[in-house]
């Protein structure tokens, strides 16, 4: 059945994926003899994995309180219907097979038999129905949009869930994995009360995953223990997962070095320390694990201001920023210049043929002169302010870099640093800025993470991480409409390529860098899942 699905909609890609599979296999065969022999090849049972978390999560259920801290805990507690492999193909999880009928408007999932919640209740299709209709479509910050076309989930029998769509929605195949559309227990969440955020199970979760909740010592640590009734007979190998809340990056570095923690997610150490850890044979610095999130750093203009409505001004600013130098000065050389709104490593969506704005301060000055902004007293053409996001040292340093780069072409940039809530209010509610820099996750599909920057309907005051620049363009809206509603994968792909070309050509916002996202772990830890958003079911610790 799984095969049938993949053939029916992924027919065009299947062959290419197989070819790619062969190359990877071939590569592995070639490389294997030079790899150091592993100390032990078969998984070891038992052991506790201690890891760090930068902040204490608010809740442990990613389907309800979505955050990066929660996303490091939740995948171990909950499963999704499917697992998305690195190449975009799907692997069964709670669903063992699925079938697409009715020209993409009906998808039938067969659920795995014998799966039980951590409290012993069996998993049924009613849980799937409630998780999608009653939770994800209601409170999930992305689910409300990605699952918009799901009109009903039918439950003909306890192990069959039928998703019905108003129009075909290819995007759901990149959103049905566990960390994005989590299957939650109906018998715990369907209480008749509206406030899902207040449910006590958000902090004492009941899931189906390989680990179950044990204890949470507020401010100190959180313990998950092996789920002995996990549906996968061989997993998990570890006895427990312990998350220590360590706020200071230097303290995390020290804890890794002393072996107090063996795994550290979400850019745990300062970028300057990365090279030292890469050179250390005891550790791995893994940049691949967050490619699902695909973070892109950008520079927004407030297009409500007449100054920035002139394409020449925006282009001049884009030409004044040397992205390679920006990466070296603020991101320890670990970021890659972006050529568009989708990172180049996301090959299935990426468009390499778009307009580029390579560093050229001379041309920038000519454009500014032409736009009627000559250098005035003190060599200043005009003064604007800049609102950097306050999430880290590299962001602040980048803002200072912009200040210097723009000074060179005669633009005075006043950097305004605030704490997070003030920043959010200014950037996304009051639109109180001239220019703004931030990074968004693009996610597996541009419909989930990219179009929000360019869609007129994403201009929603009071909503963080939406369209802050105020860019509203009929041509762009038409392309985005095709991305959302086109059922045919090939035509939809064309729309995705076109969206990138338009974003580069119209330049409502400068795409700066593909940011480095990484995790650091001890080499005693084996068989980690390829994505940081998957569970440690198969992972084990060498003793």
């Amino acid at each position: 059945m799984a095969r049938r699905f993949e053939n029916s909609t992924h027919g065009k890609w299947a062959r290419r994926d197989i070819l790619k599979g062969f190359t990877i296999l071939g590569g592995a065969c070639l490389v294997a003899p030079w790899l150091p022999a592993r100390a032990a090849d078969s998984p070891v049972k038992g052991g506790s994995l201690v890891m760090s978390l930068q902040t204490e999560p608010v809740g442990l259920v990613q389907g309800i309180t979505t955050s990066s801290a929660t996303s490091s805990v939740s995948p171990h507690l909950f499963d999704g219907l499917v697992v998305v492999r690195k190449d975009g193909s799907l692997e069964p999880c709670l669903a063992t097979s699925w079938e697409v009928t009715d020209a993409g408007k009906t998808v039938t999932f067969k659920l795995r038999e014998g799966v039980r919640w951590h409290d012993g209740t069996p998993l049924t299709s009613a849980d799937v129905q409630f998780s999608i209709m009653g939770i994800a479509k209601k409170v999930h910050p992305r689910g409300t949009a990605t699952l918009a076309s799901v009109i009903a989930v039918d439950t003909p029998d306890p192990l069959t869930a039928v998703l019905r769509f108003s129009s075909p929605a290819p995007v759901i195949w990149r959103a049905l994995y566990g960390n994005e559309t989590m299957i939650l227990p109906r018998h715990i969440y369907d209480t008749g009360k509206d406030d899902l955020f207040a449910n006590p199970a958000n902090i004492r979760p009941v899931g189906t995953g390989p680990f179950r909740f044990k204890e949470w010592v507020k401010g100190s640590h959180l313990v998950l223990e092996r789920n002995p009734d996990y549906w996968h007979p061989a997993e998990p190998h570890l006895d427990s997962l312990i998350f220590k809340f360590i706020k200071d990056p230097a303290a995390r570095t020290a804890a890794l070095k002393t072996g107090e923690i063996s795994y550290a997610p979400n850019n745990p150490i300062s970028l300057q320390e990365v090279r030292a850890f890469q050179a250390n044979p005891e550790f791995t610095v893994d940049f691949e694990a967050y490619r699902d999130a695909a973070t892109l750093y950008f520079f927004d203009f407030n297009l409500r201001k007449p100054l920035f409505q002139d394409h020449r001004v925006r282009e001049a600013i884009a030409l004044s920023i040397d992205r390679n130098l920006l990466s070296r000065t603020a991101w320890a050389g670990l970021a890659t210049p972006a050529t568009g709104p989708i990172p180049a490593y996301q090959k299935s969506n990426y468009n390499p043929h778009t307009v580029q704005y390579p560093f050229d301060p001379k041309r920038a000055e000519a454009l500014l002169d032409e736009a009627g902004h000559p250098r005035g007293p003190g060599g200043i053409r005009f003064t604007i302010d800049h609102l950097p996001n306050p999430y880290g040292e590299p962001d602040r340093r980048s803002a200072l870099f912009f200040k210097q780069a723009l000074k060179a072409v005669g633009i005075e940039l006043e950097v305004k640093n605030f704490d997070t809530p003030t920043y959010l209010r200014k950037a996304f509610t009051d639109y109180d800025f001239d220019t703004h820099s931030a990074w968004y996750s693009s996610f597996l599909d541009p419909q989930i993470g990219v179009i929000r920057r360019f869609w007129s309907q994403s201009i929603k005051p009071g909503t963080p991480a939406a369209n802050a620049s105020g860019f509203a363009d009929a041509e762009m809206d038409a392309v985005i409409d095709r991305i959302i509603h086109e059922g045919d994968e090939v035509k939809r792909h064309e729309a995705i390529l076109e969206m990138q070309a338009l974003a580069q050509q119209k330049l409502p916002s400068i795409n700066l860098l593909e940011l480095p996202m990484f995790r650091v772990y001890s080499n005693r830890l084996h068989d980690l899942p390829p994505s940081a958003l998957q569970s440690f079911g198969p992972s084990w610790l060498q003793s």
């Binding site: 506790s48 201690v50 902040t55 204490e56 608010v58 809740g59 309180t65 979505t66 955050s67 990066s68 801290a69 209601k138 910050p141 992305r142 409300t144 949009a145 955020f197 207040a198 449910n199 006590p200 958000n202 902090i203 010592v217 507020k218 401010g219 100190s220 640590h221 312990i242 220590k244 809340f245 360590i246 706020k247 200071d248 230097a250 303290a251 020290a254 804890a255 070095k257 002393t258 107090e260 605030f418 704490d419 997070t420 809530p421 003030t422 920043y423 959010l424 209010r425 200014k426 996304f428 509610t429 968004y440 996750s441 993470g449 929000r452 929603k460 009071g462 909503t463 963080p464 991480a465």
Partner: protein, 331 residues
Amino acid sequence: MFDQSSRRRKSLKAVNSLSRSAVTILCVVVVNFVLMQMLPGDAAEVLAAESGSGSASTVIQLRQHFGLDRSVLEQFFAYLSNLAQLSLGVSPRFNLPVTELILSRLGNTLLLLLSAMGIALSSGVIAGVVMAANVGRWPDRLLSLLALLLYSVPAFWLGLMAIVFFAVKLEWLPTGGIVTVSQNNQGWDAALDICWHLVLPCLTLASFYVAIFARLTRSAMLEISQQDFVRTARAKGAGPLRVLLVHMLRNALVPVSTVAGMHFGALMGGALVIEVVFSWPGMGQLAMDSVMARDYSVVLGILLLASVLVIIANGLVDALHAWLDPRIAQD
């Protein structure tokens, strides 16, 4: 007759100071509430932003959950009526009663504060006495230099260097946290484990105050050594050690304990930095996180508790003064 009026005066004084404390606490509540309201941004936006994406409907639901759809006055009276029922309310962010959130950290913070204060006071006073007894000679010079060093080095830097040296290089002590999470210690082992974790944060926090108390004790001792009663004590034949410890030190402790009481509040502020550097699960970190998340019920609860703690600390200092110098009690 005399006894009764004195008792009445005493109870009047107690009522007076209690009502003064109550007014202080009410002022703390009002000022903090107004300050929190003046900060831009709100808890719903912060929580929505943590997801990295937002949908307008999610933000609206979050705002309802946080009670932010009510007017500021309504929110304030709801808080006051909670407080009147001796409840600090519920943190909508963590979905836990504020009292539970704070009490789970209060012990850790008090452990850190009191042990740091104890170490700072005892070693500061000893150093001060040694300096005063050897004024101008090498022990005085050396300790003065050391005190100057501790006084001027920022605590977070000292903490980080202590981690690098004692935890990473020598591997004597843990880098942070309060317990070894991978061991499930019980009883004495657990207590010992906490002590090991306490050493570095406690010493780092104490360092600055050791310097303050040492310098203060030294100058107080030197000032007192010029006074008539010290000469009298020496003249009547008291040994130098007795003069130093009984006659001089007891009097020098009055200004030292006054300053210690005043610094108790500052010490709580200093503990915040130490808590972050050493991942110590205390109230300071919770306060900081709650301000950044605009979770005002928690912030107000902590500030309230902190002001109560400061009031208690000052009360204790008053009692200590009365014991050190009976003349103070008679006023």
